[in-house]
């Protein structure tokens, strides 16, 4: 088997997408559709963050496309004044792959949920990530099925009592960040719906990344799983549980910064810095080529949210599927004319005289 190195330059996530000098605001990105999520839904906060963030990119609005699947979060495209497709359950990454591959001039975003992306659409998600298609995937994780009114999801904690599991769910949940890293996603991050500042930072980095960017957003469902992430929001608890990841900085957290992440064999563990010494604390480096480190980070937090890293786990550069696919077409077009008559004729023809 031979492989071809196409030698593509490293370029930003929105390279090739036309920009504008027009003044854009959150309002420019707001469609005329009435938002129909339940009062108190975490989706509102994410929508507000995205609407305010998009003008930063200075991209032409008509060159931005949001593609979603099915579920509460997948109504997202209707509320943005960009192009949008509200597709079918689990298939948004596949549809977005075709769109992004055939159009280099679009900034393509996927909005999905824990059921959409990890149950019915799990296959498309992992393959999109391994191909590294230039898509920004916002995975709203509320750990429940909301639109179908309250069944457990693939991220629900084991033992969860729901409408479909009256004596407790049996499934071991997915950790979406671990799953994405297992698929060798080149950009993986986690943010909270309630932390606008961090969410915006992560979105910015995702947009700048060329390739698949998976952003898991912890999002509260006030109707069917209210308070699922409260332990990450309550003062006191919050500091003890959230492990903020900042590139180039030692990974420390706690009300007084008293905890740190240290290496222990093949794993990463939380220790009191006073016990292990400052030098033992791991300095975060999202650009490590091997996904093993980021994976170890993702394992710090279990389904009980005891320790929950947030921020950017991994951000590495690898050629994207869509760039490579377009490059193959471009090279073929440069080297061989599109001579339809010659193609149809082939090598073996014969004449029947008149």
């Amino acid at each position: 088997m031979t492989t071809v190195d196409l030698g593509l330059p490293s370029i930003g996530g929105t390279a090739g997408v036309p920009t504008t000098d027009e003044k854009q605001t959150a309002k420019s990105f707001t469609s005329d559709q009435e938002v129909r999520w339940c009062p108190g839904c975490g989706d509102y906060a994410v929508l507000a963050a995205v609407r305010s963030f998009l003008p930063e990119l200075r991209l032409k609005r008509e060159n931005t496309v949001f593609v979603s699947g099915i579920g509460c979060s997948s109504r997202f495209p209707y509320y943005l004044n960009t192009y949008g497709v509200h597709s079918i359950h689990g298939r948004a990454p596949a549809i977005a792959t075709g769109l992004a591959t055939s159009r280099s001039d679009l900034s393509v975003w996927v909005v999905t949920g824990d059921g959409d992306a990890l149950s019915i659409g799990g296959n498309h998600l992992i393959h999109t990530l391994r191909r590294n298609v230039n898509l920004k995937i916002l995975l709203f994780n509320n750990r429940i099925y909301g639109l179908t009114k309250g069944q457990y999801s693939p991220t629900s904690e084991q033992g969860k009592v729901t409408k479909s599991t009256p004596v407790g769910s049996l499934d071991h949940p997915f950790n979406p960040v671990s799953l994405a890293l297992g698929a060798e996603a080149t950009f993986v991050a986690r943010a909270m719906d309630s932390d606008r500042k961090q969410l915006t930072e992560v979105l910015r980095a995702a947009a700048e990344h060329r390739g698949s960017a998976l952003v898991e957003i912890y999002q509260n469902c006030p109707i069917f799983n209210d308070g699922a992430f409260d332990v990450l929001k309550e003062p006191g608890e919050r500091e003890r549980r959230i492990v903020p990841l900042r590139d180039g900085e030692p990974i420390r957290f706690g009300p007084e910064g008293e905890f740190g992440v240290v290496q222990d064999g093949f794993e990463l563990r939380v220790r009191r810095v006073s016990e292990v010494g400052e030098d033992a604390v791991v300095v975060h480096d999202a650009s490590r080529t091997d996904p093993g480190y980021a994976f170890a980070l993702s394992r710090l937090g279990g389904q009980d949210l005891e320790h929950t890293p947030t921020g950017i786990f991994r951000s590495v550069s690898r050629p994207t599927y869509d760039d490579l696919a377009r490059e193959q077409v471009r090279q073929a077009q440069e080297s061989r004319p599109a001579d339809l008559a010659a193609l149809l004729r082939g090598n073996d023809t014969w004449q029947v005289p008149g």
Partner: protein
Amino acid sequence: MTVTGHGGDGPAGNGAAALPDGVQGGLPPRSKEAHKLDRVVIRFAGDSGDGMQLTGDRFTSEAAAFGNDLATLPNFPAEIRAPAGTLPGVSSFQLHFADYDILTPGDRPDVLVAMNPAALKANIRDLPQGGILILNTDEFTKRNLTKVGYSSNPLEDGSLGGFQVHEVAMATLTRGALEETGLSKKDAERAKNMFALGLLSWMYNRSTEGTERFLREKFRRRPEIAEANVLAFRTGWNYGETTEAFGVTYEVAPAKLPPGTYRQITGNLALAYGIVAAGQRSGLDVFLGTYPITPASDVLHELSKHKNFGVTTFQAEDEIAGIGAALGASYGGALGVTTTSGPGIALKSETIGLAVMTELPLLICDIQRGGPSTGLPTKTEQADLLQAMYGRNGEAPVPVLAPSSPADCFDVALDAARIALTYRTPVLLLSDGYIANGSEPWLLPDLAELPDLRVPFASEANAPDGSGEFWPYLRDPETLARPWAVPGTPGLEHRIGGLEKSDGRGDISYDPDNHDRMVRIRQAKIDGITVPDLEVDDPSGVADVLVLGWGSTFGPIGAACRRVRAAGTPIAQAHLRHLNPMPSNLGDVLGRYRRVVVPEMNLGQLATLLRARYLVDVVSHTKVAGLPFKAEELQMVFDQVLQEVHA
């Protein structure tokens, strides 16, 4: 003397025994008597690893280059390499070539080449008495005979007494000829299919240059293998020329086909070329999103070679992603295409529904195979018609077209693309394993006469209320197509999806009356697609029985009708390319005949549609054996219907 086949059933002519017309290829002039034939059916049969498909393909190319009309029927197992020498491992290739226009690969072979006992056992029942049987005796060992259940050796027990048997030690002769080449015994023996091809090429006065050139090109990276194959090929040719076992050769003159430039083409290749041509004629990039499946994968293989025509091929993680990506590309302004077989259509159904709802162009090619479930992956069937028509949730009408022959796949691909682009709808194209892998001569089209498939993208706001808004579901009054507004177009930002839309504006709507209206509009759009009237072939003009078919049954039905007419009975034939919508004159046509016969390789799916729609009690004749109809069996069916009608 000119005879039909080797004692076949066509009209026999008269004439003196003729000598061959001179030198063939680069080989010495031949010395034996040549009989003229108007048509011959040869079947090469051997183990899956024996290279029978390649052998058949080569002979086909030679027949094509010589100017014969031809039709082929490859028949191979789903297993890549079933255990050697077993019945499940038998692979065969049947070729019908003639000096007139033919319609099928032939009901029965005149010549059967059997490379081992399994191939003999699996195929001998198709060889008529008096037929020529060429056997590779090297494989007729006790062990091989036992393996396929022969208790005695058919070469010795007299069971082949009714055939003209030629026993040839092909492996031994090939090995002997290649002794000097330094190839291993095993490698040398592998060239025995070329020995067989050489022998048959001699028997039928075929040129040798083309095959030698082909072998040198195919094995250009391994010249020693190329030369070994050429040598084996020549050895087979010389064997026919020099041994006394073969006393005569046969000639089949070129066919008198309409003038022009021809090439040989399979259905899948013609389909791939049709898709490339549709891209060129529409001015759009082609995006194929697909997943490998038999017998459709060759379309992917072919299209992946033609990136220079702006064709992108995406081998997805599954059938659903294949069509999803194609639809995404269509949304972006490309010609989205997906290719599959029946099981894949089942998986793609939900996305086809989304394409119906979002009203985007999409070409879906179903190369049908035996079903249900995994069924018979390498065998043919046309049992996906009702799946194509109705296999979706909700009222989700989709245009359906079916090619009638390998070359017709090209035209139908263009026609399907026309409908998809003009009416902004997914279109289903139903080919099948028979025409996908079968081949025939193709009169190359005049490019200037290919249809112009250009359609405009929407570029401006269209709201009839003068608001300056863009309404994505405001329709063209003529076609009922909605505007195709691709991302990147300023001012037309809009959202579409699977939820019901309000008529015109395209906003989400749960309004009962709106839903009823939209369901009817989507149906009316498909019903209103312009398709040509159905043409009836009835040379007599007085037939009172019509045979109506669709898809790959065209050849066998046509051949059977010729036989009926040759016997002096008028019969009419018509063939549907457009299954949805059907031609507007179909009801009139059906009403003109006392009886309508509908042969299908399913349990009567078109018959069901015709009865429901036109209240005509058609005679449904069905067979689902994984193989095309034989002209002979259809002739019997038609004769019986004619007798009943005229009784």
